[in-house]
Amino acid sequence: MNRYEVLKSIVPIIDGHLVVCNIGLPSQELHMLHDQPSTFYMLGTMGLASSIGLGLALAQPKPVIAIDGDGSVLTNLATLSTIANNPAANFVLLIIDNGSYGSTGDQPTYAGRKTSLAAVARACGCENVIECQAVDTAAALKDALGSGRMSVIVSKCQSGNVAVPVIEIPPVVIRDRFMKEVAAGAGA
């Protein structure tokens, strides 16, 4: 399974929940698969999906799923220590780890070589870290949402992308409709 297939498998789980989705192809693929107002698409700013997700989870009580990638987590690696030291029981960080920079041409990342993001997360102090194979991602995500504990899931999948259109929704519209969902009870 590649990232697109992992995203497709979790659509029924994330439906109606607050989702912060990583820049580039992950957001474009998710937008094509299942556009919903409770998904915040990042149109720029590589590396900050986990930080935006944590800030959102700390500020309000509804569950928050941040969908990140291995390359993006590597560019903001200290985020794992911030997450560990400010645990939000309503926060799930899903790292789709395909070992490559998918949006830029599948160049390999260090997470696909010697670096284990699950081990880094544990070393940073994250207490509920699950590494799973791509096919088990939806079940792991469902369990994490039901656990009532801050969780980090590292889903190991194959690299590769599908052809998707860019997101045409203006950023302030993405933000506005997302904030209305936060206020209205998405993910409740």
């Binding site: 149109l43 700013t45 930080s51 935006i52 700390l58 500020a59 950023p171 904030m179």
Partner: protein, 168 residues
């Protein structure tokens, strides 16, 4: 011990219903950071790097808490992409309370190097910028925070060594 200027900074934050603050420490801001931790109305989440902190602020804002970041001007360079593509692009109000190192009163020569670029970078980014060099300028902070919320932009409040003289 947080002095009266530091307390006033945090008083103005709470009066403007700012409920989420992230910070990277600076010696000049030690009193502000200490005061933040004494206020139950403010969730203070220290970050490791200022662009990470702006991500936290963006999330907190969308979660219903008005944010602010406490940082040093030397970090401005690492935040430029985040300011442009997250804070400005999505129109998120973000007061940046910035220790303005390298201005008159500075003791460390290297700090002057980034001070030379600070206002030029902020100007290039079209970020409303306010420079406090006298203690009485603290009286402007409340209006600046209101202006930030009104226009939904990042704003920079630069506070130099002369402003903090007597406090640190």
């Amino acid at each position: 011990m947080a002095g009266p200027l530091s307390q006033k900074v945090v008083d103005d934050l709470t009066a403007n219903r700012i409920g989420f603050v992230t910070s990277v420490p600076c010696k000049q801001l030690a009193g502000v950071i200490e005061a933040l931790d004494t206020r139950p109305e403010i969730l203070h989440v220290p970050c490791n790097k200022e662009d990470e902190g702006m991500g936290l602020c963006a999330g907190a804002y969308m979660g219903g808490k008005r944010p602010a970041i406490v940082m040093q001007n030397t970090a401005l360079g690492v935040t430029i992409n985040t300011l442009a593509t997250l804070i400005q692009f999505y129109q998120i109000p973000l007061p940046m309370l910035i220790s303005y190192r390298g201005e008159v009163g500075e003791k460390v020569a290297c700090q002057v190097e980034m001070a030379l670029h600070t206002k030029a970078l902020l100007n290039q980014l079209l970020i409303p910028t306010y420079h406090f060099s006298k203690a009485e300028q603290i009286e402007e902070l409340d209006a600046i925070l209101k202006h930030t919320e009104m226009c939904k932009k990042p704003t920079a409040i630069l506070m130099d060594a002369r402003f903090w003289k007597g406090e640190t």
